[in-house]
Assembly symmetry: C2
Homo-oligomer: 456 residues x 2
């Protein structure tokens, strides 16, 4: 078993560390060094990083400390080391997209999300391992709770690094289940905001309609702190919209005016959940329904989605496979032999198997399904549902199934997984909350409320 | 021959009329009555309107005059009667989309473009004839210059109404060539702004990627006046972007700092131009190249688009047919027998003939083709090219070919047609100017510069 949470400085939360640095009680160098030491101790086992330069990380930390000494204004992430999935362009580090075909890529500019985290004072600690082109073929990362198991994917390194104290925060992505699944397997908080909330320009493009930036932290306020720095419109991402950035951290830290109404939504893939997961969920709902344990919470009702939602998995596949074929056309043409069989098969289905009408209809179903959920979100603050079929599977040749995420990704709904459950053999198992599209602040408030309930 | 431009009050330009109304030299009632009289005289022949209520139009004019008397602030379109293509929802008039399947539709709300023209003080004069679902099957409208000929489509009524003094301004749409073509055939200014410049919510949706709002007027400042009131972001149209509305009218009325550089672009369909059109264009370029006639204008060079652009017509068809099938799915399912054979064939091609990969690739080609034009628009202020293959064809069973518009619509470039040429038998023939995407103000300035040159 690996050293998960043993209480050193590296386990300080991002919110705490940012406050301590701001108030001069902690230097960015000390905090970053503690994280680098955690990496040095565990990287051989966990393999979360594809690029890491200790000296360069410390130089960034020293620059943050120097800015503090000079009295320069602090951004909300001032001095915090942050892991960046290796599909986000970085102007000072390679970006190789988990594929030998992109080995040696050295982008000229930062991706929008990277530029924003730097503008908020964050340090790019290094680049975290992604599966091949953020799809299924795994990288070198192992699950920090049990290195014989997958960390999940595709944001494998980001989830694992946050889980074992290597960084308090990391960014990843989700086109199907690439944030929620690894966060669930690694026992951290994973948050996929509403579609279009965070600009994606400068990140590997798989599917305009499905790509989301995803975020990792160890608690809800931390993930809210990071999200608040990344939200907002960008002229280069046509799916971001002009709207004020919601006060996510304040929302996460505030008590709901009345106890949130949760709906248990088994969803279209409940039968795929392992029996252990089904049982754990039953117990969780029961525990939440104990009046003493969760004061003010009405009974959690089960809410069954209508027939149309069972199609979402297939609709998702039409869009994702077609867009993969389109966005990786050059790679497939010039280097099919260096693409894994699993990805090659997806690209080939995208090239040949889908009709244009089905593709266009799938895109049209996105707003239609959102509309169909309007009444549910009038009655409920959030859906509660498993984040994955079960705990991280054994073996490092695959990264597990994203099936428990596809529908929510397809609809662009905000989703967050919380490490609330444990399997019989002690592996983490995520509880996924789903909010209404655009209502990210409310979802984070509900998530923090649930995280801080005293139930067992 | 019909009464085109005989010099009554109805021929006052929108800019002049708006100034006269603002200054109390003209009432909206007098102006609107003159336009209504022009309609009464010509509607039997031209058939531009599908809904018109004289009393209701005058009631709106009286309300504008009353607001003037009360000293209320004037919008830029205060008191001007405007024609609205019958695919834009209007809360006070039916909106039937040119199809018996939508007969009797009475929308609850105004389309965004209609709401904006009302907010600017404009009156909705009535609803103008559209072809069936803004595609090819014609309505009742005839060409005001020769009623044996088509007015073009799909914005048939809007183009014809403006051409014969029924209204100074009208709105229409363009998904392929539905603004530029009828404007060219009817001898008016037709303007299709950059993709996303004017919100489309509340208008018939054929294709999210191709639909544009189009505008009609008799001169460039008028069309700029109208456009400036309609531009801008709307939360309900996800393809509008947050950016300041450009000062279009001021741009149209200002002299370019140096003479614009025009490139003659035959484009991928030049061979489809009638020989008369080819000759007229040759003479136009020659006349423009006469130093005395166009002082300061460098020689107009021919600019040949690269190979990739010849594919645009086919790419456009994949997207348009597929999206038609998708957006008219209910109509096709429930009323295929009341859909014209030409539209039914398009829908059926959209249902069956295109692959998802080709569709997604077509969408990806839109930014790629725009990038390929970057250098050309560094060297040239606008492209000059025919608006149609020739003058309006005889017969009212078809509306002519949109081929000279498809590429520019596909790329979302701003396009304007100017009634600068005449065929041997006196029919108007449009000269189309194309600008860089987003550079609408510059295009309008260049267009006005060209309109006011003294060349023959």
């Amino acid at each position: 078993m690996n050293a998960v949470n043993e209480g050193g400085l590296e386990w300080l939360s991002a919110v705490e560390a940012a406050a301590a640095i701001r108030e001069g009680r902690l230097t960015s160098r000390d905090y970053t060094e503690a994280c680098l030491d955690a990496i040095a101790r565990q990287e051989d086992t966990v393999g979360a990083w594809t690029f890491l330069d200790r000296d360069y990380a410390l130089a960034q930390a020293d620059a943050a400390d120097e800015a503090h000494r000079l009295g320069r204004p602090h951004g909300p992430l001032h001095g915090l080391p942050i892991g960046v999935k290796d599909i986000f362009d970085t102007r000072d580090m390679p970006t190789e997209d988990g594929s030998p075909l992109h080995a040696g890529r050295t982008p000229r500019d930062d991706a929008a999300a990277v530029a924003r985290l730097r503008a908020a004072g964050g340090l790019v600690m290094g680049k975290t391992v992604t599966t091949e082109f953020a799809t299924y073929h795994p990288g070198k990362t192992a699950n920090p709770h049990d290195p014989r198991r997958t960390p999940g994917g595709s944001s494998s390194g980001s989830a694992a690094a946050v889980a074992c104290g290597m960084v308090p925060l990391a960014i990843g992505s989700q086109t199907n289940g690439s944030t929620i699944r690894p966060a669930s397997f690694c026992g951290v908080v994973g948050y996929k905001p509403s579609f279009g909330a965070i600009p994606r320009n400068g990140a590997l493009k798989l599917s305009r309609a499905l790509d989301h930036v995803g975020l990792f932290a160890r608690d809800v306020p931390d993930v809210a702190l990071l999200a608040e720095c990344l939200f907002g419109c960008d002229a280069e991402d046509p799916d971001t919209r002009p709207q004020a950035v919601p006060p996510l951290l304040r929302a996460a830290l505030s008590e709901p005016p009345t106890a949130p109404r949760l709906a248990f939504v088994p969803g279209p893939v409940w039968e795929l959940a392992e029996s252990e997961t089904q049982e754990a969920f039953g117990e969780l709902i029961e525990a939440l329904n104990e009046a003493d344990a969760a004061p003010g919470l009405g009974k959690i009702e089960q809410f069954d989605l209508s027939e149309g939602f069972s199609e979402a998995q297939a609709l998702h596949a039409v869009v994702m496979e077609t867009d993969l074929a389109c966005n990786l056309a050059r790679e497939y043409r010039d280097g099919a032999d260096r693409i894994s069989p699993v990805l090659r098969a997806m690209i080939e289905r995208g090239l040949n198997q889908h009709g244009a009408y089905d593709y266009a209809r799938a895109l049209a179903m996105m707003p239609a399904l959102n509309e169909a959920l309007e009444e549910a979100f009038f009655n409920f603050d959030a859906f509660i549902t498993p984040a994955a079929a079960g705990p991280a599977p054994f073996g490092l040749e695959a990264t597990g199934s994203p099936a428990f995420c596809s529908l929510w990704t397809f609809c662009g709904l905000p989703a967050i997984t919380l490490p609330l459950l444990r399997s019989a053999d002690g592996m983490p198992l995520g509880v996924q909350l789903i909010g209404q599209r655009g209502a990210d602040a409310k979802l984070l408030r509900t998530a923090q409320w649930l995280m801080t309930r005293d139930f067992t």
